[in-house]
Each structure stands twice: as C-alpha cells, then as structure tokens.
C-alpha cells in the first residue's frame, strides 16, 4: 500500500460521503416540498441568499423550490444551544448519535454506484471497495444503527424516549428477518455471489421475448421478494407508516426528545442517510442498478462517459424511489403497534419463507 493508493481511496471516501450527505440533506427539503404538494400548499419558498438569490430567473425559481432552505436549516443546527441535561447518562448520551449516524455511512463503502469500463474491456465497480461479501457487510453494518436508538432512549433517563427506543428496537429486529429471507432467492439465483457488483451485472438484458419482454431485473424475476424487501425497508428506516419510534402523538418526539443542536441533527441526518442507503440498495438489487431497460450490459458506453451514464442511471432510480417513499409517508396514516408486529411476524415472515421455498423449487426445475 503506497501513498498514492491511500490518497485515491481517501478521495473516493470523501466524495461518496459528501454526495450522500448532500442527497440526504436535500431529501429533507424534497420531503417538505412533496408534503406541501400532497397537502396543496406552497411549502418552503421564502429562504434566499444574497448573491445566488438575485440571479434573474434561476434565483427566483431556486427560492420558490426551497433550494436554500437546507443551508439555513443546517446552519441553524450549529448555532442552537447544545444542552446535555443533568439527568442523563453522559457517556452513552454522547455516543448514541454517533452510533446512529456512522453505520449508514460505513455501509455505503460496499455499494457500487456505477461501473467504469476501461480500454481493456474489464468492468470495474465505482465503489469504495469491491469485496465478495458486500451484501452481508451492508446488512450487518446497517443493523448496528439500532444500538444508537437503544442507547439514546436508555441514556436519556426519560420515560418517552425509553418507550420509543424499546418499541423501535423490537420493530427493527422483527423486520430484519424479512430482509434476510427476501434477499436469499436473489443470491440463489445469481449462483452464490454475495457481491453487489455481480448482482447488478446479472441484471442486464431481457427476460421473456417479443412484446412480453421485460428487463431482466430482479423486480421482474421475483416480484414478491421485491415487495417484501420494499416493505421491510420502510420499517428498517423508521419511515411512516412504520414510524413507531417517533409517533409524535403518543411519545412526544421519540428517542431523541432530550437531544438538541447537532446531536439531534445527527439522528436526523442518519435517518435520511439510512433512507438514501435503502433506496440505493433497492435500485441496485431489484431495479437493475445502472442497467437501462432493453440495453445489454455490453452495449453500455465505455470510458468516462460510461461511468457518468451509469452513475446517472443509479441516481435517477434512487431519486424516483425516494420520492415514492416520501409520497407513501404523506398518503398513509401510521399503523398501530400491534398491527406493525402482526404484519412483520404473521404476514411478511411466512410469505418470505414460502417465497424462498417456491424459488428453490423453480431453480431445481430449471437446473434439473
């Protein structure tokens, strides 16, 4: 390992973290805009900055779209009083936001965002690292963030955060089972690879023929798995309608009630980073990653243009999926807690087991 190699890795890591934090940040603004459109109101449209805001048409449009809102909100996190109440358990109270934020960023290191085909025709993933148990790593690491929630709720020494953290942890572990079982057919299909890059490469091309041809994406090959995974993703990233940790009406603010300033901000950014990670994972595993429908993987442009195109395709799919997740939040009411647990254990889990058995039989027939 020489210094050049370390520098390249560092640049890659900084770019990925910066991009994902920007996307997660703008997801907050996007969420507010979508909420306002669903509820027929204008949403954030006042915040502006001196020079950029006075550009004739663009500045006006950016202001109306709430583009500068994020800068104001972000800066505000820094200048608020940062309290550490006397009644909390200081160490865990401080560690909890970090533990909630770091796993989402760490899990990103195994996710491929695109591909680069060099002049020698070898496709290299545009990821921080390319290792062969990528998906296991992502599942294991993003599972750690539940400890952040438990720590925050316990260390706050306050009733509502405590209830919230217990509810949230029971919910998160319940839906983790569904995630594992829903992904198993994908790994069986790809013939034993757990690395996300090969899973995407597998999805180029068309399944079926003629007018019935569908892109060879896993959402077309195994729609039930995709549905299970999508529902579990909502629960795992604590999104409405599975918003048990933060059900404002009965638990004040949830596990971060006692937090302020950027300690709260880290929970907030972490939640949106988790949502971004979930959307990227879904588009990589089930929506074909950077494969364009009806274009074979080998027909994709090569070189730098190909890299830009592939990252752009993943980005578009991710943004569409995130908009869908937000639209669901503002459409459905929150479930009751027993309904959440019943859905997880009595509907999704048995369905996932049956789904796995069905694909085991199908593969045996195909190979047999």
């Amino acid at each position: 390992m020489d210094w050049m190699y370390l520098l390249i890795v560092l640049v890659k890591a900084v770019v990925v973290v910066a991009l994902v934090m920007a996307v997660a940040g703008y997801a907050v603004v996007g969420e507010r805009k979508i909420a306002s459109w669903v509820q027929e109101r204008p949403g954030p449209n006042r915040t502006t900055v001196p020079i950029l805001g006075s550009i004739p048409v663009v500045g006006w449009w950016l202001r109306r779209m709430g583009f500068f809102q994020l800068w104001a909100d972000g800066a505000k996190f820094f200048f608020k009083e940062e309290p550490t109440p006397a009644h909390v358990n200081k160490l865990y109270f401080l560690v909890a936001p970090v533990v909630a934020f770091v796993p989402a960023m760490a899990a990103l290191s195994a996710v491929p965002f695109g591909q680069y085909v060099g002049s020698d025709g070898v496709a290299v993933p545009l990821a921080i690292t390319n290792f062969d148990v990528g998906m296991l790593f992502v599942m294991a690491v993003s599972g750690i963030s539940v400890f952040g929630i438990i720590m925050a709720g316990w260390a706050s020494n306050s009733k509502y955060p405590y209830f919230s953290s217990i509810r949230a942890s029971a919910q998160l572990i319940s839906y983790e089972l569904t995630i594992g079982l829903a992904l198993l057919p994908v790994f069986m299909w790809t013939g034993g690879t757990l690395d996300l890059f090969s899973i995407v490469r597998e999805q180029g091309g068309v399944v079926g023929g003629g007018v019935f041809g569908l892109p060879k994406w896993f959402i077309c090959i195994m729609p039930v798995s995709a549905l299970l995974y999508l529902v579990a993703l909502f629960a795992e990233s604590n999104r409405l309608p599975f918003d048990m940790a933060e059900s404002e009406t009965d638990l004040v603010g949830g596990f971060h009630t006692e937090y302020g300033a950027f300690k709260f901000g880290l929970f907030f950014v972490g939640e949106y980073a988790h949502m971004t990670l979930a959307a990227i994972l879904f588009s990589v595993i089930f929506l074909g990653g950077w494969s364009i429908p009806f274009v074979s993987m080998d027909a994709m442009p090569v070189g730098l243009l190909g890299a830009v195109v592939s990252v752009g395709v993943v980005f578009v799919k991710t943004v569409i999926l995130m908009s869908f997740i937000m639209l669901v939040r503002w459409t459905l009411p929150r479930f009751r807690y027993d309904q959440v647990m019943d859905l997880g254990w009595k509907i999704l889990l048995p369905l996932a087991v049956v789904n796995l058995a069905v694909y085991a039989v199908i593969l045996a027939l195909v190979e047999g």
Binding site: E81, F101, M105, A106, I128, T129, V133, L184, M341, V353
Partner: protein, 132 residues
C-alpha cells in the same frame, strides 16, 4: 469481463478508512455545534428535568415494559440464526444442483422446520399483542 471481487487487506482497508471518516465527521459536527452553540446566561433548573410536555416528571424514568418485547427479541435470535444458516445454502445451491446433488429436499425440509416453528409460536400466542 468484470473485475473479480476479492478479500484482501487492500479491499478491507478502505472500509476502515470510511468508518474513521464517518466517525470524524460525526464527532466534528458535535464539537462544532458545541463550540458555536448559543450560550444561555442562566439556565433554569427545569432545563435539567426530563421533558414530559411541561409537567413535572412522575414515577420512574425506566418503568417496566411488556414481556412481549423480550419474547420478540428471543424469537428474533432463533429465527435470525436460521436465516444465517440459510445463507451458505443459498451460495452453493445452484452449484450443487448443476452437479446433480439432490439438495432440494433437504432445503424444503429445513424451511418446513422453520415454518412449523413459526406456526407453533403464532398458535401459542407468543406474538399476540392485543389483550393479554
């Protein structure tokens, strides 16, 4: 042709770097907000009481919680271990089929055991949340 994924120090090093970077960002943000944050000249004694919508706190801050949560956690461990056992199966399933080794029946048997366990716990009411 694709670049083969590997498991060498060179593939895990960047992961460590990413984790360190994420921790540095998180700690840096907290420190910065601590540094720049608003200072309140005299904090009221109520700043240091748990927030319960403005009323004085009543009772224990860590009250007892339902045993159902405990049961859920235990059942999770059981089922998660079964899922973990299924991962090695999934990675070799196609290769075993292609080699003509009869793997379908054992897999279905394993899934049946998992399913029977699930049905048993549902019938026992271990996952019944409403009522008692």
């Amino acid at each position: 042709m694709i670049q083969q994924a590997a498991t060498t120090p060179e593939t895990f090093g960047p992961v460590l770097l990413q984790i360190v970077l994420a921790i540095a960002i998180a700690v840096g943000l907290i420190l910065l907000s601590n540094l720049l944050g608003q200072r309140v000249a005299k904090r009221s004694s109520f700043s240091h009481t748990p927030y319960e919508c403005g009323l004085p706190m009543t009772g224990n801050p860590h009250p007892r919680f339902g045993v159902k949560f405990f049961l859920t956690a235990m059942l999770f461990i059981l089922f998660d271990i079964e899922v973990v056992f299924l991962f090695p199966m999934a990675t070799v399933y196609r290769a075993l089929l292609a080699a003509g080794i009869p793997i379908l029946a054992p897999v279905l048997f394993f899934l049946a055991v998992l399913g029977v366990g699930l049905i048993y716990e549902i019938r026992k009411g271990a996952l019944k949340w409403e009522g008692r």
